[in-house]
Subunit: 324 residues, 2 copies
C-alpha cells in the first residue's frame, strides 16, 4: 500500500461521502459558471486538508455530517484562495494545469474565487454550529492577512526569521490548524483535545510551508516551477534568511536587497541560491522542519486509536518527505 | 431637513452605534493592511443599505445588537464586492475617488476584498444566529453569480429583458433584499413580515439599478462616468434593450451586435445612445421603474409606524430621483 493509501485507510469510506458532498456543492446549473466550477472541481488534489479533518474527527469518535461539511468548507476556502492567489501572482499554471485566470481571464477568476468563498461559508452555516462559522470567518481573515503581510514584507528592506514565521503561520499553517481543530470540534471533542488538535495542525502547516519553500532552491520539472521562483517574486524564505545571517559579505546583502526590491537579475538570483546552499541555509531549514515534525509526532503518541495514530504518522512523514 | 436626514431620522441614534461598530470592524494593527482598510473606511457612502436594515428593524420593534451586526455585515459585503468589481472592471475611480486597485495595486485589492468578505462573515457569526449566516452565505454566492452572469451575457449575442432582470436581481436587488430581510429578522419579525421585507428590499434594488442604468445615457460630471460607459463595456441595459425591440433597422442591430462584441467605436455608441432615446427607451425604463416603485409604496402603506413609513417613502423617492 502506498503512503497516501495508508494515510486515508481509517477514513476511506468517509472520504467517499466527502467527495460526493464536495462535488454537489460545486455543481451549478448556469452554463458558464458551471463550466468554470467544473474546471476547478476536476483539478482534485491530494485532499490533504479534508483527510486531516476526517482523521482528527475519527480519533475523537466518529466522523459526523458536521465533520464532512467542515472538510468541504475548508477545502473550498483553500481552493478559493488558490484561485485568487493565481490572479494576484499572475500565474498561468498550477501544478501543470492552466490556472483559472489563464483559462477564463482575471475577471472570471476573481468572481469564481468569491463564489467559492460564499459556497464555503454556506457549508459552514449548514453545520448549524455558530462556533464553526466563527472559526471559518476568522480563518478567512487570517489567510488574506497572511497574503497581505507577504506583499508588504516584500517591500520591507529587512528579511527576518520572525517575519517569515509570522507570514507562514498566517498564510499556510492557519488552514491546517483549522482543519485539525474543526475535525476535533465537529466530532464532539473536549476542549483539551480541540486545543491539542489545533496546535498539531499548525505544526503540520509550518512543516508543509518550509518544505514548499525548500523546493524553490532546487530545479524539478515535476513541480513545474523554476528554481528561485520565490526570489523572482521578491520573497526571501527561511534558507536564504538564515544564510544572510551568517555573512557580512556586501555582495550577498546587495543581492538580497535587489531581490526584495524586485530588481535582481536571473544571474543574481542563481548566485543567491548557490550562496544559500553553501552557507547551510537548506540544512538549517530542514532542521527547523524536523524539530516541528518531532513536536507533532509527540502529540500523536498521546492519542488513542492505533489506526489513526499510524495514519497521522504517515501523514507527517508525507508532508516533510514529499516531492511535489 | 434634507431628504437624507428625513430618511435617517427614526434611526439616527442607532446609526451612530452602527458607525462605531463598522469602524471597529475595519481597524487593523498591521501598518500596511491598516492603511488600506482605513482608505476603504474613509470612503463612506450614503449608508443606504445599513439605513434600510435599521429602518426595517425599527418598524418591527427595536434595533438590536444583531441588527447592528447585520447592517455592518451587509455594508462590508457590499464594500468587498465594489473593491473586487473595480479590479474586474479595471476601474481607476469610484465616485470621484481613486479605487483601491488604483491606489494599492490589483494584488492588494483582491486580498483586501477577501479580507472584507471574511470580516463580513465574522460579524454575521457574531450575531449567534445560524439563519443570518446562511442568508449572508447565500447572498455572497448570488452577488458573484450576478457578476458572472453579466460577464457571460456580454458574450451572448442577444440582449433580452428577461436576461437583464435576471442579472440585476442577482447583482443589485439581492443585496437590498437581504438588508430588509435581515433587518426584519434581527428584530424578531414574524415570517410574514420577514418575507414582505425581503420583497420590499428587492423592489428597491431593482429601482436602484434601473436608475443607475438610465444615468449611463446622460453625461454628468458629478457621477464621474462618461455617457455610454456601460455600452463601452459591452453591456446593453433596459433602455437599449427596449429600443432594439422597436426596430428592424439593420444598422441599429449591427451597432448592438458590435457593442456586445466589444468592437463598437465611440461614434457607434453615441448613435446607439441617441437612437435609444428617440425610440422611447428611457421613457420605458422610467415607466418600469415607477411600477416597481408603486408596488414598494403599497407595501409601506401596510406597516405600522408612522415615522418609519415616512422615512421609507422618502427612501423610495430618493432611490428613483437621485442624481448620483
Amino acid at each position: 500500500m502506498d503512503k497516501l493509501a495508508i494515510i486515508r485507510q481509517p477514513v476511506a469510506d468517509e472520504l467517499l461521502s466527502y467527495k460526493a458532498l464536495f462535488d454537489s456543492a460545486l455543481a451549478h446549473e448556469d452554463d458558464f459558471l458551471g463550466r468554470a466550477l467544473d474546471y476547478v472541481r476536476r483539478r482534485e488534489g491530494k485532499m490533504m486538508r479534508p483527510v486531516l479533518v476526517l482523521l482528527m474527527a475519527k480519533e475523537c469518535g466518529a466522523v459526523s455530517e458536521k465533520s464532512l461539511r467542515a472538510a468541504v468548507t475548508l477545502e473550498l476556502l483553500h481552493t478559493a484562495s488558490l484561485v485568487h492567489d493565481d490572479v494576484v501572482d499572475e500565474s498561468g499554471e498550477r501544478r501543470g494545469q492552466r490556472s483559472v485566470n489563464a483559462m477564463f481571464g482575471n475577471q472570471v477568476a476573481v468572481l469564481v474565487g468569491d463564489y467559492l468563498l460564499s459556497t464555503a461559508l454556506l457549508q459552514a452555516a449548514l453545520t448549524g454550529e455558530v462556533e464553526i462559522v466563527e472559526i471559518i470567518a476568522q480563518l478567512g481573515g487570517i489567510l488574506s492577512e497572511g497574503e497581505v503581510f507577504q506583499l508588504a514584507n516584500i517591500r520591507n528592506e529587512r528579511a527576518s526569521e520572525e517575519a517569515y514565521f509570522h507570514i507562514i503561520r498566517h498564510k499556510t499553517a492557519a488552514l491546517f490548524a483549522a482543519c485539525a481543530e474543526l475535525g476535533a470540534l465537529s466530532a464532539g471533542g473536549d476542549a483539551a483535545y480541540v486545543a491539542q488538535a489545533r496546535h498539531f495542525g499548525e505544526l503540520i502547516g509550518l512543516c508543509f510551508q518550509i518544505r514548499d519553500d525548500i523546493f524553490d532552491y532546487f530545479s524539478d520539472a515535476a513541480i513545474g516551477k523554476p528554481t528561485g521562483n520565490d526570489m523572482a517574486e521578491g520573497k526571501l524564505t527561511l534558507p536564504a534568511i538564515y544564510a544572510l545571517q551568517q555573512t557580512d559579505r556586501a555582495d550577498v546583502h546587495e543581492w538580497a536587497a535587489r531581490i526584495k526590491g524586485g530588481q535582481a537579475t536571473p544571474d543574481e538570483i542563481a548566485q543567491m541560491v548557490a550562496f544559500t546552499k553553501e552557507a547551510g541555509g537548506i540544512a538549517y531549514a530542514e532542521k527547523r522542519m524536523q524539530e516541528l515534525h518531532a513536536e507533532a509526532l509527540a502529540l500523536v503518541d498521546t492519542w488513542k486509536h492505533d489506526e489513526v495514530r499510524e495514519a497521522l504518522r504517515h501523514y507527517l512523514d508525507f508532508v516533510v518527505e514529499r516531492k511535489w
